[in-house]
């Protein structure tokens, strides 16, 4: 039987990660071109710690989603629209894994190991390699631009469903609309 609602956990994870990802994106955007200072070193560390946290959360979120099927898309959507919606969600999940992974690899290649909260060293998956570090920086940046575009599309689609189609696609993801 198809669910009609998201679980409260799925809704909580959605908004928690939305806030964390937007915050982390803004921090990354701000800090990247700062001149070197203690503040910059702190911001980079905090960005990495938050990135590790999101990377852990996305595993929990994917696990939850596999165990709790989301409600179906509305019947009025054409097949192509449904395909685009699913492809968009798949892209969001892919990026939620790929972006922290690219940041982790970039840190290793740049020779600055990620130490979670300054206490727990995350293993370096790559040797220090300046050229590779610069390449991964570009990859991390490019993936983030793709994420920004996909998130904007995601939000625009939700608003279109709410204001033009007048269906429940947006409202069913709002807090207090979940199944307990």
């Amino acid at each position: 039987m198809q669910n009609k609602q998201y679980t409260a956990t799925a809704i909580a994870l959605h908004w928690l990660m939305a806030a964390a990802i937007i915050g982390l994106f803004a921090l990354g955007f701000y800090m990247a071109d700062l001149p070197l200072s203690p503040t910059k070193l702190k911001l980079f560390s905090w960005h990495k710690w938050a990135g590790v946290t999101i990377f852990l959360l996305v595993f929990i979120r994917l696990g939850w989603r596999i165990g709790h099927r989301p409600p179906a898309l509305p019947d009025h959507m054409a097949q192509l629209e449904q395909f685009v919606a699913h492809a968009g969600h798949a892209m969001l999940y892919l990026l939620m894994f790929a972006i922290p992974l690219s940041g982790w690899l970039m840190s290793s290649a740049k020779g600055v190991q990620t130490v979670y909260f300054g206490q727990f060293p995350i293993p370096d998956l790559l040797q220090k390699d300046k050229a590779l570090g610069d390449l991964l920086e570009t990859v991390h940046w490019g993936l983030n631009l793709l994420l920004a575009a996909t998130v904007l599309g995601h939000a625009a689609a939700a608003l279109k469903h709410h204001f033009i189609n007048r269906d429940d696609v947006l409202t069913r993801m709002l807090p207090h609309h979940g199944k307990h």
């Binding site: 203690p38 702190k42 600055v112 190991q113 130490v115 300054g118 206490q119």
Partner: protein, 190 residues
């Protein structure tokens, strides 16, 4: 006594029996291309490493004449390699090494004493940015024919030398303790 303990004892006894025959070799010429000067420190809890590419060492070491042993080193501070060009530029600046005014760091030994076996303590004065502090490096000397390697390390506190002033003076981002390690290859002869 185990075999492992007997062998060094035998070597020591043998060496002492022939003080004028053994170890009558002085190591003086340091091969720059086979030597290294590196440093390690913590930044936001992360272990970081770097090196100095240019440094000159004057050395005179005969294990049989420790009282006459001498070492001095001059380090071209602008030759630092921190791993990032941005950081290399930063540490050349006034708040760090101020290399325009103080281009070199200098170490001059005041004495060498044996710590037993092939380990020695090299004490001396380290001068950086116009400030001098006593330091002592525990050094392991490995002799092989005409070559000897000197591997040593000591910890300096960057605040003692004013390395990293102003906003950098806080040890929360860059730790105060900097471990300095050297690996020198010297050959015997005049």
């Amino acid at each position: 006594m185990t075999i492992k303990k007997i062998i060094p004892t035998l070597i020591a006894v043998t060496a002492l029996s022939f003080p004028f025959v053994s170890q009558a070799v002085e190591f003086k010429t340091v091969q720059a291309d086979k030597s290294a000067l590196t440093f390690a420190y913590k930044q936001m809890g992360v272990g970081m490493e770097g090196k100095f590419k240019k440094f000159a060492v004057q050395l005179s070491f005969d294990p049989a004449k420790l009282a006459a042993a001498k070492a001095s080193m001059e380090v071209d501070l602008a030759s630092i390699d921190t791993g990032s060009a941005e950081a290399d530029d930063e540490v050349a600046g006034k708040q760090w090494f101020n290399t325009k005014v103080f281009p070199a760091a200098r170490f001059v030994s005041s004495g060498v004493k044996s710590l037993g076996g092939n380990r020695y303590e090299v004490a001396g004065q380290l001068t950086i940015k116009g400030r001098s502090q006593p330091v002592a490096a525990t050094t392991t000397v490995t002799m092989q024919g005409n070559n000897a390697t000197f591997d040593g390390a000591f910890v300096l506190k960057r605040a003692d030398f004013g390395i990293g002033e102003g906003p950098w003076a806080d040890f929360g981002t860059v730790a105060n303790e900097i471990q300095i390690k050297f690996h020198l290859l010297a050959t015997s002869g005049k």
